[in-house]
Amino acid sequence: MYNKKTIIPGLIIFVLFVTFPVWFNGLDAGPVPKPEMPQGGQKECVLPADEMRASHMQLLNEWRDDVLRDGGRDVVTVAGKEYRKGLQMACMECHTSQEKFCDTCHIYASVKPYCWDCHITPEAATKKKETR
């Protein structure tokens, strides 16, 4: 191998540079977020917790398309409880705090969904009432 002296240190520097985010924090991904459970004591959701955790965004997109494009505004009944399709009308009825529930994981995973540009959180609604 030619230029062994430059190639090998070069490769090592490259690998270290690329894996910088991994080792810089001491191989630790930081404290796992603990989203706040519903204050009303609700235990059931429309899907099991791990499925919701993994694919709530797909479900929300499906609901959105049902409601807006196919006019399917019927309620979803799970375990005897009726849920209206919608972030504002179903999810945030139980998970009332965007900051303490949604944002905990979204910030951890560095995703920035724009749901709340339009959809009103219960917090925003109460704030509006106070100021007026």
């Binding site: 959105r64 494009r69 006019g71 505004r73 339009c118 509006k128 007026r132």
Partner: protein, 272 residues
């Protein structure tokens, strides 16, 4: 050598002839067969399709606005506009024409029914504001203009709907709409919404919005907010159903639509 060239030219000529002739031949023979197969399924056949009005199918929600009632009680219109604004979290920019968001608004006869003559208008027409809203056209030009399919016609009930998630704010639909029924959010509307209706979202900066015929209320079996607030000045229903209340009104009264010459076929009718 010559013999071969002669043969080649013959084959080439025959092939060319066959190539040009075959599609025509297929068209001629298969055309008859297709027509024969199609005719019984159509019922009245092609003749009825080419001439006379199309037979309406499905639900087509529409509105009849009785201006005689509104002329007598103009406060009803204000009530309807307020109801609409409250239900849909519509911001109030206080007379700022550039930012203004309109779902249901007031305009004069000249501005609303532009293709009518107004040499001598009756006092009633001169002194009354007309309610204007999205016409939910049968042939909506905004839908054709939208490059992202953010606005579309619901085949289920004929409502021209919006999906704000998809709107990129290009405003082609605003240019296409001959009725000015669409408004653009030049800024975040939230600070200008007086009170939130928690069951309906607001919009964000950079999207176009318009009347949705209260789709969300219809799903709950309620009438549109303006219809409810107007106490009988507006009739709402399916005009494809000959037994609906609105069909009876349309059968009885002479109604006009906005700019009928454009061929959009609006679903909002006025009794003047």
């Amino acid at each position: 050598m010559d013999n071969q060239r002669r043969k080649f030219l013959k084959i080439a000529g025959a092939s060319a002839l066959a190539g040009i002739g075959a599609p025509t031949l297929v068209k001629l023979t298969a055309g008859d067969a297709l027509a024969a197969a199609k005719a019984p399924a159509d019922g009245h056949g092609a003749a009825a399709k080419d001439h006379g009005p199309e037979v309406p199918a499905g639900i087509r929600l529409a509105m009849v606005i009785d201006m005689r009632v509104i002329a007598a009680k103009p406060h009803l219109l204000d009530k309807a506009i307020t109801a609409c604004n409250e239900v849909h979290n519509i911001p109030d920019f206080g007379g700022d024409r550039k930012n203004e968001i309109k779902w249901l608004w007031k305009a004069s006869f000249e501005a609303v029914l532009t293709d009518k003559s107004y040499t001598r208008l009756s006092k009633m027409v001169q002194n009354t504001d007309f309610p204007v809203l999205c016409n939910h056209c049968e042939n909506p030009p905004c839908v054709r203009a939208c490059p992202t399919k953010a606005t579309f016609k619901l085949e289920k009930n004929g409502i021209v709907a919006m999906d704000y998630h998809r709107c990129i704010g290009c405003r082609f639909c605003m240019a296409a709409c001959p009725y000015g029924a669409r408004s653009f959010n030049w800024q975040d509307p939230r600070p200008f919404v007086k009170k939130y209706n928690n069951d309906f979202p607001t919009r964000m900066r950079g999207v176009v919005e318009k009347c949705n015929f209260c789709s969300e209320r219809l799903a709950l079996g309620q009438e549109p907010a303006c219809v409810e607030a107007c106490e009988g000045a507006i009739t709402f229903g399916d005009i494809n159903d000959p037994h609906s209340e609105i069909s009876k009104v349309l059968d009885k009264e002479f109604t006009i639509q906005r700019k009928p010459t454009l061929g959009t076929n609006p679903s909002v009718f006025y009794i003047v």
